[in-house]
């Protein structure tokens, strides 16, 4: 009896193992190799040099070709990518990075410490994240073929996160390329270690990336932007389709497998198409009105507080999102919900008060005499224009005089660098992965936040390495933000993407699209 019971248990176990194996094999079988994935996006990248520009299209494309020492996991925390591991000296000033061995560049050369030193040195001179990090670096050198060492001037909390950010990131190029192109000149030879390599770039027609057969994936499962990466498709063809209605039509007809950056008014139509899956991309941007704090009317903090008190954010967000509640979120944290490490839940903040009386009182205290406030926006990004227009109406009801100046994006970007040309401008804030990366809290970015208290906490955040103390500082900074009002934080706006149902394995949770680990069902 006992023996037969053992046999039964063994049989059940064997069956369970066989089923589990079959399931695993089934999943593996489902992940098919091959095919061309055609992706329609808004436009042409200004460069395929990850160090050179902060343009989001460049970020998306270059992250398929290049990799950095670190990447971000699903919770936006740094995890190793080309680095094997790191150690920090007892004094907290020496970071030693062990590199993974046997990593090949697309030109067949092995990646070594010389490439890392040359690349990150270049990145440290051009990228805003690189500059912030290298301002704290006393020496960066190769120890041996697979080890690099970073000696800091002072303790720093931003070493790993700076090496992990995906935008304007510390991509590793071969030393010859990193040294050939000075930091202010964009790279035009595209050789990385990523799962795809650049095959052809025909401006305004397509960018072809093909699978890099010698790619050496990490052994961990995919995790956020990092972990294991497999190039299942033979080729990714990035097609710039500037007209959004055309992108929508092409994903409906199957001329594109994936379309990014779609207008929200296409949502209902796409949802009815059984061959297409709609994807709400979050986070996308939180909408922001940035004040010129160097010159002019908005240097007056009371006036900025009056703006904050006057606006009623929900109707603005609802309108910008085309009436779809799926596409906006009311949240006052400076880090979006998805950046779990830095998302705050503070109560009592003067956000979305829509208190007209308070606004009027603040205007009086500010000594405001109906002088026109130059509010600069653009119609190139419809959501910017929409929220500027709706804000103007609400603000004028509260006693402001708003001179809405609608210009094209290139003009806005130029003018916002000149403190004489505007009082407020619109833009969107994407994800920042560390409190020190929030550019609108820095004195160097347009709007010029030079407030000493804000700067002091920023400096403390850069030095403090204890996570709990950093979070406390960040909460303090958030409260300070709503008191000093360097910019106005509106709500979170989400984006719309669409994929054919044949596209499998796409990670919908990352802010920017990635097509490693994605396959096509034939």
């Amino acid at each position: 009896m006992k023996r037969s019971a053992h046999l039964s248990i063994l049989t059940v176990l064997a069956l369970a193992m066989a089923l589990a194996t079959a399931a695993v094999v089934g999943v593996a079988d489902a992940q098919k190799r091959g095919g061309v994935l055609r992706v329609g996006n808004l436009g042409e990248p200004p460069a395929l040099d990850a160090h050179w520009t902060t343009a989001s299209i460049t970020e998306t494309l270059t992250n398929h070709i290049y990799e950095g020492l670190y990447s971000l996991d699903a919770n936006a925390r740094p995890i190793p990518m080309l680095a094997e591991s790191h150690t920090v000296g007892k004094d907290g000033l020496t970071y030693t990075f062990k590199l993974r061995q046997g990593i090949k560049f697309h030109n067949g050369k092995e990646m070594t410490s010389d490439d890392v030193v040359a690349s990150l040195t270049r990145w440290g001179k051009q990228s805003s994240y690189g500059k912030a990090l290298f301002a704290q670096v006393a020496e960066f050198r190769a120890v041996d073929k697979y080890t690099v060492q970073m000696q800091l001037k002072e303790k720093s909390a931003i070493v790993l996160i700076s090496l992990a950010v995906p935008n304007n990131f510390g991509a590793i190029y071969p030393k010859e390329i990193a040294e050939k192109f000075p930091p202010e000149q964009k790279v035009t030879e595209y050789v990385g270690t990523g799962p795809f390599k650049l095959a052809e770039w025909k401006p305004d027609q397509y960018i072809r990336m093909v699978r890099f057969d010698d790619y050496k994936s990490r052994n961990e499962p995919p995790n956020g932007y990092g972990g294991g990466k497999t190039a299942y498709v033979d080729e990714i063809r990035w097609v710039p389709v500037p007209e959004v209605a055309t992108r929508v039509a092409q994903v409906e007809t199957g001329e594109l497998e994936f379309a990014d950056d779609l207008n929200l008014d296409a949502y209902d139509r796409l949802k009815k198409n059984s061959n297409v899956k709609t994807i709400v991309s979050k986070p996308y941007y939180w909408l922001v009105a940035v004040f010129n704090k160097k010159e002019g009317l908005m240097t007056n903090q009371k006036l900025r507080q009056a703006w904050q008190a006057a606006i009623d954010i929900e109707p603005i967000m609802k309108n910008v999102a085309g009436g779809h509640s799926e596409f906006y979120r009311m949240d006052n944290s400076l880090a979006p919900v998805e950046i779990t490490t830095w998302h705050t839940k503070l109560s009592g903040l003067p956000w979305n008060e829509h208190n007209r009386e308070k606004a009027k009182k603040l205007l009086q205290e500010a000594g405001y005499k109906k002088e026109p406030i130059r509010f600069m926006t653009t119609q190139e990004y419809k959501w910017m224009y929409d929220f500027a227009l709706l804000s103007k109406q609400q603000l004028e009801d509260a006693g402001f005089t708003i001179d809405l100046q609608v210009v094209d994006w290139a003009t806005l970007v130029k003018r916002r660098n000149n403190p004489k040309e505007y009082d407020v401008f619109t833009t969107g804030m994407g994800s920042f992965y560390d409190p020190t990366h929030h550019i609108y809290l820095t004195p160097g970015w347009p709007g010029w936040t030079t407030d000493e208290d804000i700067a002091k906490i920023q400096q403390e955040l850069a030095r403090e390495t204890d996570p709990k103390k950093r979070m406390a500082l960040w909460e303090k900074q958030t409260r300070q933000f709503y008191e000093k009002v360097p910019v106005i934080r509106y709500g979170d706006l989400f984006g719309l993407r669409a994929a054919r149902t044949t596209v499998k394995g796409f990670n919908e949770k990352t802010e920017r699209i990635r097509f490693y680990n994605v396959w096509l069902e034939k």
Partner: protein, 299 residues
């Protein structure tokens, strides 16, 4: 052309906006922007940049695109084929629709056919190309699935695919352009058909088609050829809306992208080519007109 080029150079440089700000992205700092401006020579005074531009043009060098990482001449050569194919295809549609419509309308002025055709021509002038193009895409690509929604294939690489891609843009653009050709054809045919020699031809017992096509149409052809020439020149400068909606990588799309990105050398290059095309096409129209009407002589 020198005047055109100078005016365009000054206009594009005087309007606000900066290529470097666009290239470096929204989070770039003013310091980064200034460094890159210096490396591109954009920090130099306008007159210095203008003289440099003149010197290069005289050597047939239109400079280097800031965005496209290639000489402007190469960029223009790459974009010429799609624009030329679209121009000729839509012109064919416009002439095939416009000329017969104008003649038929003129042959029976005031009739139902005349009114219907002129209403169609009025619609062709009034309906925005953008709206028509998007409706064509929705109907023929999305709903019926007969044709691709957008894209381009070279006629030299895959003629069948090229033809399929070109049908909808040529039809929508050609329909718009045919309206003007139809109205001009009708107007001049009416004038010609009221002439004494036409009455004489009819009195001699010649058939209506011979009167219309042999005696009438040839004499109305000069203004029709002129309007076709003007249409062609406009299209070579880039059918901007059609190229953008149908995602055709031609000169129209190039100049719009270049203006938005403030890619000064490319804007100047496209304008220079368009100005040259205008001059050349006007010359061709004069030659053709002299051939059609032997009374025309250019001193």
């Amino acid at each position: 052309m020198a005047v055109v080029v100078t005016v365009v150079f000054l206009l594009i440089h005087l309007i606000p906006g900066d290529p470097v700000g666009v290239m470096l992205g929204p989070d770039a700092t003013p310091a980064q922007i200034e460094a890159t401006r210096r490396s591109l020579g954009l920090d130099r005074p306008i007159h210095e940049q203008l003289f440099k531009f003149y010197a290069r043009v005289l050597q047939a060098d239109l400079g280097q695109s800031y965005f496209l990482d290639r000489p402007v001449v190469t960029a223009l050569a790459e974009r010429a084929e799609p624009t030329l194919v679209l121009t000729f295809a839509s012109l064919l549609v416009a002439v095939v629709i416009g000329v017969p419509a104008g003649i038929v309308a003129a042959s029976r002025p005031g009739s139902l056919a005349d009114r219907a055709l002129m209403l169609g021509a009025l619609l062709g002038v009034c309906v925005p190309g953008f709206w028509l193009s998007l409706n064509f895409i929705y109907l023929f690509a999305v709903r019926l699935g007969w044709l691709p929604a957008a894209g381009y294939a070279s006629v030299f690489v895959d003629p069948v695919a090229a033809a399929r891609f070109m049908v909808l843009p040529a039809l929508s653009l050609g329909f718009n352009q045919s309206a003007l050709i139809a109205r001009i054809s009708r107007s001049f045919m009416l004038e010609v058909l009221s002439q004494d020699y036409i009455r004489t031809a009819r009195a001699k017992g010649l058939s209506q088609p011979i009167v219309l096509w042999i005696h009438g149409f040839r004499n109305a052809l000069v203004p029709v050829v002129t309007v076709i020439g003007v249409t062609m020149a406009v299209l070579i400068g880039g059918a901007v809306v059609t190229e953008i909606v149908f995602n055709i990588p031609g000169l129209g799309r190039l100049i719009i992208s270049a203006i938005l990105r403030r890619d000064y050398p490319v804007v100047q290059g496209v304008v220079l080519v368009t100005a040259a095309a205008y001059v050349l096409i006007n010359l061709m129209v004069d030659v053709v007109n002299a051939f059609i009407d032997p009374r025309i002589r250019y001193e």
